[in-house]
């Protein structure tokens, strides 16, 4: 098989070929590395390419396969968002603050991939400390959307989404605090799953907003999403918010169909100012779900949705301002060398180590938590969080899942919103309520508008990932959006 075909494989396809020894992991890994070398000058999805370790891991995987030991992800090359600690491979969070930080340990999800003898190709670009919706807030360079190089890939897991869309890896891991897996998945025509809060260990995930962050897969199809979830989900005593529920086989229900399922369409997600092509594409997709046997409930309402954005942009920056207090230039990371005293050293370290969006959020969060404003902002937002969560609970008494757009528009131009923080924040209006409620949601390809992908979001109750994957799989079988590949020209 020619190497450009090899890197287009899904996990399941690659696994079959590896298992029957029709290809080796070294061949597959070389093909991915060649593809990276070929397209990276246009996409800029990667911050670190770990060629040497990847080939060593691939050789090890091949020897395991020869011995008859093959797990689902054995020998399959992946890209990892640069917010997850990788022992011996620098982990920058796309920040000057951590430009030279080499973690002494692996994140739990990396340990889990290594147990299966997966191959780690490198680390992907992102908005600095995962704060952003476009990847333009990377301290190093922006990632470009493979479908239109003048557009953003979405953020903050933009490098992971663009890398998978451009076939630089078979799959990738991302993290999602307000839409950071699902938005770039939608903008780049890949499948992105944000699991229920607590489902995947956050140990070794560099913290942004600890009550909202969750790790999940970005893959070329729904089956692969289930395969990666099987590998990464589960309890971990080192993450005290990890939930000790048993992990199902996420592929178990894929082919069960959606006959008789009740799918709600919450009207508040079809906002004014939404791009007409996005509205139309969602309408067509919903009719397809109906054809497949789902009962569509058009009367669903989540009236507190319009407060989610404000609540989120109080809660997330507040948690961020506390989490990022650790960057003081003492234990690791950038340290300002010419200070006269310890306070100045900390202030200057943070002045030169953080980029503008991170500073903006630290300021916002510090303000919301400061004396005199704590009740008016932070506690108020926490109360609104309760109401948003209760509202979802009520809706899921009558619906198995909800369907919404992933964003009011398709990918926007690089530079279009970067100087207007409020406009940028509005990009996440359909995704961030899901993090506030801690529930799972998946983004899947659902159409195109001027050659730019349109994503559909399927939302479920806590720990209903199997249901979401089942609906997504039924839709994917009936459509072929996910099979389209970007030309990467221009």
């Amino acid at each position: 098989m020619p190497s450009n075909r090899l890197c287009q494989l899904t996990i399941r396809q690659a696994h079959e070929l590896l298992k029957h020894r029709e290809i080796s992991s070294v061949e597959l890994t070389r093909a991915a590395l060649e593809r990276i070398a070929d397209v990276e000058n246009r996409i800029h999805a990667c911050l670190t390419i770990a060629e040497e370790t990847a080939l060593r891991q691939a050789k090890e995987a091949d020897s395991h396969i020869r011995d008859g030991n093959i797990a689902p992800l054995t020998g399959i090359p992946a890209l990892i968002k640069d917010v997850m600690c990788t022992k011996g491979i620098r982990t920058t969070c796309a920040s000057k603050m951590l430009e030279n930080f080499v973690p002494p340990y692996d994140a739990r999800v990396i340990e889990k991939l290594k147990v299966q003898k997966a191959v780690i190709l490198g680390k992907t670009n992102m908005d600095e400390f995962a704060m952003g919706s476009s990847n333009e807030h990377s301290a190093f360079f922006p990632t470009h959307n493979p479908w239109d190089l003048s557009c953003v890939p979405g953020g903050s897991s933009g490098g992971s989404a663009a890398g998978v869309a451009a076939d630089e890896a078979i799959y990738a891991l991302g993290s999602d605090t307000g839409g950071s897996i699902r938005l770039p998945a939608g903008f780049c025509n890949v499948v992105g799953l944000k699991p229920t809060y607590g489902r995947v260990s956050r140990f070794g995930l560099v913290a942004f907003a600890s009550s909202l962050d969750q790790i999940g897969p970005l893959t070329k199809d729904v089956t692969d999403s289930a395969w990666v979830m099987n590998a990464i989900a589960g309890f971990d005593s080192r993450d005290s918010t990890s939930v000790p529920y048993p992990v199902p086989d996420y592929t178990g229900q894929l082919i069960s169909g959606i006959k008789g399922m009740r799918i709600g369409i919450p009207k508040e997600y079809f906002v004014e100012g939404m791009q007409s092509e996005v509205r139309e594409a969602l309408g067509v997709a919903i009719r397809k779900l109906e054809e497949l046997g789902a009962e569509i409930d058009w009367e669903v309402s989540l009236p507190h949705t319009k407060y989610a954005l404000a609540a989120y942009y109080i809660l997330a920056p507040s948690e961020a301002s506390a989490n990022l207090a650790r960057y003081d230039g003492v234990k690791y990371g950038f340290s300002y060398p010419n200070a006269n005293n310890v306070i100045q050293a900390i202030e200057k370290t943070r002045q030169f180590g953080f980029g503008p969006e991170v500073k903006r959020r630290i300021m916002l969060g510090t303000y919301a938590l400061s004396a005199g404003y704590y009740d008016a902002y932070y506690v108020k937002a926490q109360k609104v969080r309760t109401l948003i969560k209760q509202e979802f609970d009520r809706v899921f008494e009558r619906c198995d899942a909800l369907v919404t757009p992933i964003s009011p528009t398709a990918a926007f131009k690089i530079g279009e919103k970067v100087d207007d923080p409020l406009q940028m924040y509005l990009t996440d209006v359909c995704t961030l309520p899901i993090n506030i409620a801690g529930i799972p949601a998946i983004s899947i390809p659902a159409g195109f508008c001027n050659n730019l992908p349109i994503g559909m979001q399927i939302i479920g109750k806590p720990f209903s990932e199997e249901i979401l994957l089942r609906i997504a799989f039924a839709y994917e079988q009936a459509t072929d959006w996910h099979k389209r590949k970007p030309a990467i020209t221009g």
């Binding site: 234990k331 310890v342 050293a345 943070r350 630290i362 300021m363 108020k380 109401l387």
Partner: protein, 95 residues
């Protein structure tokens, strides 16, 4: 809500975040703008609502108090900007 220069500088001090003059100006405008948008939350009646600190209902997660190995000292100090006698070195705290 209008944030003036003094308030921006006060918040920056609380966050131990050095800012340039240009950043102080910019944040004063941008943060005021963002805070104005938060006013929408005042429409919501939250008088009998308990604040949510998290999304799952786990409480009091305990573990056994068992001794375990920590990371090797050399590994942890490998990322230190400055070290001395196996300690992190900082600037003088007392004058």
């Amino acid at each position: 809500m209008k944030l003036d220069r003094d308030q921006v500088q006060h918040i920056a001090w609380l966050a131990r975040l050095g800012l340039t003059e240009a950043e102080i100006e910019k944040f004063s405008l941008q943060l005021s703008d963002i805070l104005d948008n938060f006013e929408i939350l005042n429409e919501v009646d939250t008088s009998n609502v308990t604040p949510a600190t998290q999304a799952v209902y786990l409480q009091n997660v305990f573990r056994e108090d068992e001794a375990a190995n920590s990371y090797p000292q050399a590994d942890i100090l490998a990322n230190a900007p400055e070290e001395d006698e196996s300690c992190f070195k900082v600037k003088a705290i007392l004058e």
